[in-house]
Amino acid sequence: MKRKVLTGSLLAMGALLVGVSFFAIAQPLTVLPRMALAPGFVLTDQHGERLTNEDLRGKLVVYTLAYTGCGEACAPINRTMAELAARLDEVDTGGAPVRLVTISVDPERDTPAALRSAAEGLGADGQVWRLASGDPAMVRQVVGGGFEVFYEARDDGTIRFDPAFVVVDGWGITRARNRVGLPDVELLLDQLRLLGNEVRASTGVARFAYEAAHLFSCYAY
């Protein structure tokens, strides 16, 4: 009896070890890390409608920063967003909708009307891609305190800030911060694809495999 228990537990431990080492070596799936809770906010979009972080629950969101009076300086950021918006159907997100949000770092001047005319120029439809602004103190809290990106007005009226593309999942958890230089659209699509894999595996046994991938830090990047 005692011997059986011993053999059994040894076998179980052996199986566990083999399983774990398979996972560690083969890395059958990779994930994006769960970095931190994304900031909460109440902002206004280009149609004057309220946009909160709660509205974006259950959706995969790519946040970025820009402002309407920016001109050529923000063009690469806007181009990246526009290309991303156009290519979203390339990614299978497992049914989770994707939303793009450009937050203004010039809230004093970026009224809904200013945002609306900018959105028309960019082709932001207000459905998938929304431009948002709001109370300056709120924007400071979200962008500086939450996304940890610094911005300030220069003497000539332009705004100084570093580009950032933050990917947040349906639970409101930050999964990727692309803030060193300008990211490639391919990279952003790949990050959305990885989140999509997780969404598709969110029911059933596959869920445990993804949890294991998180536990063993099988990170894609």
């Binding site: 500086g144 305190g145 940890e148 610094f150 300030e152 803030r179």
Partner: protein, 155 residues
């Protein structure tokens, strides 16, 4: 195998002690929130000076009471070498190196992190009391290593 009763007792107490220590560490990590540096992004070490945010290192107030220090650790100085912040500020350091491996230790704080070319080091600390802290490079980085230092001045 015969294990003497004293030996059993000694090993049990010793093993138990190690488990208690591990429990304390788990508490420090999960309960008290003392975290080790994690992944915080990579960067091309040859393009540090042209890649935002490291193209413009400095101290910035990102939100009321929250500061960001974007720092380049290079042979043999910190840029910026002087960080001035008011007491009570929560400061996030983002540091990288354009040349060799450096280290940064802000004296009498838990900011103690390696600066490895190609990697970005991120550390957070809340400076509560007004005082001066030395910033020391604590990894050998060449002949001028001991000249590499700076200051955090909490006002």
């Amino acid at each position: 195998m015969k294990v003497h009763v004293y030996e059993k007792a000694f090993l049990s107490i010793g093993g138990g002690m190690l488990l208690v220590f591990l429990g304390a560490l788990a508490f420090a990590t999960l309960g008290a929130g003392i975290h080790l540096p994690d992944r915080a992004g990579s960067i091309d070490p040859q393009a540090v000076r042209t890649t935002p945010p490291f193209d413009d290192p400095g101290v910035r107030e990102i939100a009321p009471g929250k500061y960001e220090v974007v720092m380049v650790a290079q042979a043999w100085s910190f840029d910026p070498a002087e960080v001035r912040i008011p007491a009570g500020s929560e400061v996030t350091f983002r540091i990288t190196s354009p040349d060799v491996i450096h280290g940064i230790h802000v004296e009498h704080t838990t900011i103690n992190v390696m600066v490895v070319p190609g990697q970005i080091s991120e550390m957070r600390y809340t400076f509560r009391e007004p005082r001066e802290h030395l910033i020391i490079c604590h990894e050998y980085c060449g002949i001028g290593h001991h000249y590499m230092y700076g200051k955090v001045i909490v006002e």
